[in-house]
Each structure stands twice: as structure tokens, then as C-alpha cells.
Amino acid sequence: MHEQPMLSVRNLEKQFGPGCRMCKNPIGRQLEKNYCPHCRTVYACQNISFDLFPGEILGIVGESGSGKSTLMQCLYFDEELTAGEASINISDLDGENVFTLSNQQKRYIRNHYFGMVYQNPMKGLKMDFSAIGNIAEKLIAAGGRNVAEMEVIGKTLLEKVHIPLFRMKEEPRRFSGGMQQRVQIAKALSNQAPVLFLDEVTTGLDLSVQASVLDLIKKIQRELGISMIVVSHDLAVIRMLADRTLVMLNGAVVEEGLTDQILEDPQSPYTQQLVYSLL
């Protein structure tokens, strides 16, 4: 069976800094971790390519500072990338490089086809607006103009993520960290976007909440067939969620393949170390 990828990314590059003659050429450049020791330019993402298929969960693991979150922010148009292409499988944008579209078009894709759950709920939520309002914001951005409809969708989602409805008009500022994270997930799901980015969703949550959030993600993927990219440094999370996994180190992909394969039979020295460090 030949399936078309939902999202395909080719040669994505993101650097912070201008680069110097020692590091400009990717072939033969001597980096210390991910930065050039001469000019201190950070190469956060280097030549990253992958495909994301419909209904698939793609895991990205790697130590902190390996470029996972930067990659997500580039894909969600939060960060301007240095070079690279990505195309998204939507009829009117098929084959086009989404990174070269106008800002208005990028905004449109982001509002209509993408959902994002940030590691830090402060980034994804408006802390001074009600929980239901936060969900409505995503719906409004995607063209929602009917209060009653948006309220129904919001309530259903909040129930799904186990937020008691009597607290829906409260600001997430007054919620616990786990609840904030769940409101964020509800928000990301609200417009039924075909692609979801999850950046360290369970980091910092206690184990029982973590389990219910993971359950929820798994359920959503099964029920709605949404494609997801899950970033985590927690291999247990990746093992549970991801079908395929990329392993990142110092801004580059060092290994990719089926999650089970990677965890059972790691090839690159870094992945081996990572897997064997698992308690």
C-alpha cells in the first residue's frame, strides 16, 4: 500500500547566529556539540528530513538541547527556519513548500490544520482568559462565529480531558499544572486539526495524571485518526505512543525507525546509551 504522507519535511535547517567560514559548509565542519567553537553559531537543526503519515504518531527523542523543540517551533511557524522545505497533504497546498508561503497563509495553515501543545502551558494558553475562552480562541481563529456551537465543542472537549465543567469559566492561571496541560490539549484538539504537535506534554506531571493524559492522546489518535509528532525525552512515553521514532543528538537525526526496533536493537552509540540508561 502506498500512502501519501500528511506532512513531509526535507532538509530542515535552523541556525542561531550568522556562521563563519569555519562552519558555513556543512561538510567537514567541526562543531562542539551543536555550536561552532569559533563564532558560537548554534546549529539547532541540521538537515532534518522525515515523513508523517496520516493517523501516525511519530516520536522524537533526544537529550535536552538536541533541537527537538526548535524543530517543533519551526514546523508550527513560531520560529523562522534557515533553510528547508515542508509540504502538507491538503488539496490546495499539495506539493507547495509551506515555509515559503506568505505569513497570512502560514497563519491560515496553523489555525486550520495544526494544533500545538507546548511544554509550558504559559505559552499555549492565555492565562487571564477562561478555560472555555481559550478553547474558543482556537475555534474563532479557524473561523468560528457562533457562540453556542463553540460552547458545546468546548464543553465536550473539557469533559474529555476530565476538567470539571463547573470550572470551565475559571482562568487556567488558577488551575494546577496538570489541568493547564489538559486544557491545552483540549484547545489543540478543538478545530479537529489533522496534524498535532505535542512538545513534552507529560513532563512535570505526576504519574497518575501522566497516565491519563497519555491514555487520552492514544484514544484521540485511535478515534480521530489525527497524525501527531510527539517530542519527549522520556522513552517510556515514546514506547507507549509512537509507531516510529527519530533519535536526535546535537541538532541532527542519528537514528530513525520503528520504535520497538530502536528500543530493542539500538544502532547508534548514543541511542544505545540512551536505551541502557533506562532504569
Binding site: N103, Q104, S130, I132, E137, A141, R145, N146
Partner: protein, 288 residues
Amino acid sequence: MKTNHHFAFFDEGSKKEIRRAILKAVAIPGYQVPFSSREMPIARGWGTGGLQITLSIIGCEDVLKVIDQGSDESVNAVSIKKLVQTTTGVEVTDLTQEATIIQSRHRIPEVPLDSNQILVLQVPAPEPLRDVEAREYMTKILHSEEEYSGAWLQLFEQIMKFGRTTTGADHPVYVNHRYVMAPSPIPRFDNPKMHQSEALILLGAGREKKIYAVPPFTDVRSLAFDDYPFKVESFSGKQCRLCGTSDVFLDEVLAADTGEVSYQCNDTSYCMERLNQAEKAEVENNYA
């Protein structure tokens, strides 16, 4: 010692700069054009934005009317009128239809304006997205990408919390189907008057250093959800205690001693004119 000041207080260079900002504002309806707001003889926040626009566009033949929340006689309106008159020598008036330039704080006159008139509105807070996004460089990006979910979100929150939109004044509007604009703190009652207005509407924010405009015959729509349509203040069953009108914006007047509530036209010159007409008609009927 008496010194001669330049016509309309400003030097010509200043006027030119402000006029350029105005031209750009007219060319891009609803877009906030930055300008170098000048130090004025009144404090910022007291109408310096409107005053600077008035002074840069006024000519010898203009007739000026200044109102402050509907009143021609309030201290602020009188002071601004005096300043412009002393420095230009133009005629001032209370009658809306006689004026060519009407500078106003928080009201649009009841008498419909025509294409020979310019309405100058004073604006304290020109950015409709400020409450959702504090950073100016971000709101500029949001405007450029036509990302107005923040403005809608504020209305949504009001509906969630109070069952309806609760903007008492300054209800955001969509101008020319492109920019969301703060119409200055005019009551919702006046929002529809901006739609397809025959007169040019210029808005000036002195403290925030922004000028924006609604050119004549431009679509101006108040933001509203499908199931919560935009509503103006209703004064049904109430009428002005002086002139008897009922289809205008009314002020509630509370008698301190008796606690009795009565209503009165907010637009004083409109009320005065109606009273004069009634008196004239009465005189003609009774003594002719």
C-alpha cells in the same frame, strides 16, 4: 507682551508631517499610522491627538465645533475651541450642520454629517488588541496577518461571563473588511453612524502617537457573533425631559434630593436646537 504665533499654532513642517500621516490613514482605512505626536499646551490624554489633527487640517474658511461627550459647553471643549480660535481666527459654532470640522470626544453628533464635514475623534486607546497582547510589535504582526481572534475572544469572554457583550463604549469594528479598529470610546449607539458615513472620520491618539481614519462611504461593521447580534443601547419608553425626543442617545439624570430618575439628550446642541424650533413654532402659532 504679545507675540504673534503661527497660523494654527503649529509650524508648517509639523502640519505637513501630520497631514502625511492623515493621508496614509485615509488610504488604508482602519490602519493605525504612527506619527510624532507633539507637545501641546494641553496635557496628553486631554484630546491632544484630535487637536493636532484639527490644527493641521484647519483653514481660514473652516467653521469649528468642539464637543466633549455631546456637550459644547464643557470646560475641555471650550478650552480647545478657544485655543484653535485664538491661533486661527476661524468661526466657531454649536450647530452641527454649520460646522466643517467637528472635533469630538466620545460622541458622534445626532445630526447626520455630510460630505463637506470632517469628524475628528479623540482616542485614548487606539489598539483594539491591547488587552490580549501587550506588546506593540506583536499587535502589528497580528494586524498584518489579519489575526483578530483576540478581539473576538474578548467578546466571547463577556458572553460567557455575563450572557451578553458588555462593551459600554469602544466596541471594536471591522473597517473595510480588513482592519479591526477601536472606534474611540463612543457608545455602541454611535457605531452604526460610522458605516457608510458621508463625512470623513479622522481619529487621533496623542499619547499613543497614532492616527487612523474611516474615509467616506466605507463599510464599518461592529464585531458580533452569529447568535449574539450587535445591539445598540435601547432607550425605548424614555424621552428627553427637555425637548421630548426619544430616538437619540439619552443621559440618565438622577435628582440628588428626591432620587428621581429622568432622561436628557446627551447631544446638547441637538437638544437646544429642538427647543428653539419648538419655541419658534409656538410663537408663530400663538402670535402670528
